[in-house]
Symmetry: C2
Subunit: 351 residues, 2 copies
């Protein structure tokens, strides 16, 4: 199991291109699974905790598994530095909570479309993360992966309640599907709140860029299913796909319906963002993300023509403090990061 250098690698989702990439940044499937006859992670002693990691590691290191999913490797949390864990969070490969721990492990494949947290809230948290609107493809891959793992591992399953999970909100399918949408025109037309309120009634949740508990930043919204029980996986996915498509259509309509005044304002915002990003000497990650969101709108509206979505998705990762330091190969002060961030952005926008 040769481990790849995730500090410098590009995750699949960072490639950015794919169906409806003008509005959808990423599609994500997450499955919660637990092993039979072992307590949930928060009740595990050290020996059993290691046993779980061991069992999962064995399951993924078979020839059969790598033939199907490519090379994967396991990192023990205790062998990762705080910076490395931060990078995994910024790449959306592990949860912020998980990064705080020293017990547990993470499995990644080479292009980081597959990640498995071992002993987070559940024994396994399987994630498929793809760029653009590819929920179907992500679900298909997750499903295959789940089947392959199930051949080697005994998952806790109950005829009535489905997959058992540490938290009852994940019971049943253990499935959470989500899409990250960029909805600047809906926000500018002040329609986003009304729409999001109605999503809640459809059993969906709206979150920010870094998932649960994170603020909405830069017009980026993560929409996911709330309900995991009483529906089949296909129903959950199809429901989310249908609602996401409606949001995409509404965003497109809002972009077309912008009146002259709003069009000027949007163009102005996008062009200023481009001007600042390609010239500034100092950029914080928060400001950079907001400006990148404005820039992306410029790409959407064909105002900014020499930048494409690949640069956007790559940059929203590269500007994160951990990834930035990982690439630089050293820890940096906030000021040094701000300088470096501006430098990287300037460089990328030149191409």
């Amino acid at each position: 199991m040769a481990k790849h250098d995730f500090k410098n690698s590009k995750s699949k989702w960072m490639e950015g291109l794919g169906p409806q990439d003008d509005i959808v940044l990423t599609s994500r499937i997450r499955l919660a699974r637990n092993l039979q006859n072992l307590p949930f992670p928060h009740l595990l002693d050290e020996a059993k905790e290691k046993e779980v990691v061991q069992l999962v590691s064995q399951a993924i290191t078979t020839r059969q598994f790598s033939d199907q999913f490519g090379e994967t490797a396991v990192w023990q949390l205790e062998e990762l530095s705080p910076l490395e864990k931060q990078i995994l969070v910024e790449k959306h490969l592990i949860s912020p909570d998980f990064a705080e721990r020293s017990k547990g492990a993470v499995v990644l494949n080479r292009d980081e479309s597959i990640s498995i947290m071992i002993n987070e809230e559940d024994h396994l948290r399987i994630q498929i993360l793809l760029p653009a609107f590819q929920l179907g493809a992500a679900w298909e891959l997750a499903n295959k992966l789940d089947d392959a793992l199930e051949e080697k591992l005994d998952f806790a399953f109950n005829e009535n309640r489905g997959y058992l999970t540490a938290c009852p909100t994940n019971l049943g399918t253990g499935l959470r599907a989500s899409v990250m949408l960029h909805l600047p025109a809906l926000v500018m037309a002040r329609q986003e709140k009304v729409i999001f309120n109605s999503l809640t009634k459809l059993g969906l949740t709206v979150r920010g860029f870094y998932g649960e508990g994170s603020d909405v930043q830069s017009n980026l919204y993560q929409i996911s299913n709330q309900i995991t029980l009483g529906l089949t996986e296909n129903e959950i996915i199809n429901n989310l796909v249908a609602v996401a498509q409606q949001l995409i259509d509404r965003e497109k309509a809002a972009r077309n319906l912008l009146n002259e005044e709003l069009t000027y304002r949007m163009e102005d915002q996008a062009l200023r963002a481009y001007g600042i990003l390609s010239n500034a000497r100092i950029l914080s990650s928060e400001e950079a993300l907001n400006l990148l969101s404005d820039l992306r709108l410029g790409i959407d509206l064909k105002i900014v023509n020499d930048v494409d979505y690949r640069v956007f998705n790559e940059l929203i990762a590269l500007i994160q403090p951990g990834i930035l330091q990982g690439r630089a190969g050293k820890e940096m002060t906030a000021r040094d990061r701000d300088l470096k961030r501006a430098e990287i952005i300037k460089e990328k926008l030149k191409v």
Copy 2:
């Protein structure tokens, strides 16, 4: 007397280049003069008001005068539209007060280095306005012009009190000399207030970009003499030159003494200004002026290398609402001006 099209012409000061042009924008001399045996302007009836304009017009339309000072022409205020008067204010050729009136006239030479307001507060307000640090040259020209006019006109003069003026603060020499300085480093180092307080004790006044009563904008400060009586013209000029030179030296020292942190901030500010100015779709005159001030600092610090002071001085005039509409040849809404302003700036910065 062929009148030139001042709505589209470039004033001498807008050329921007000259001694110490990295800090000094303009040098200005103003002389207040009144005709003997005629009441001050605020007491003139219509017939006598016309007589004053008539007398001054005759004095400047001699062959002798044009041989010495080039072609000049006289515009009656009543023949000027509000927009045209606004343009003259924005070009610093007449006072905002004067622009409000319908009686009176203004004399301009071709390059607008000479302007004479007839029947403003005094019968004649003679102004010489040059780019950069040229107080000596401006005074020399003003003096010659004064002598030439005095050959044709009887100026009210009293052995003890010197030239008589409507307001006693101008008695004596009737001279006001001023320089417009760009002092961003002193402002950033928070030294400007202490310095300006000491200027008052030296009999000098600090004002904003549009003279008396105007706010300081964009780190632009107009320094002028307060006292006109009891000193010779040469003493007044030399005093101002000496103090201005001290301010220039202090600004230069402040630029050199900027610590690393301030240097980054200044570079950042200048580069962002450049990025916004060369990309924005909408720009108000106030924002544009502030950004141009930041950009100028970038030129000063050799961070921005493809823009020179000519562009700067020209732009701070071109972005003014009146001049903008004058060039466009039509009245425009605020929004249309903001769009046009951004377009003009983008265009000029490309060169």
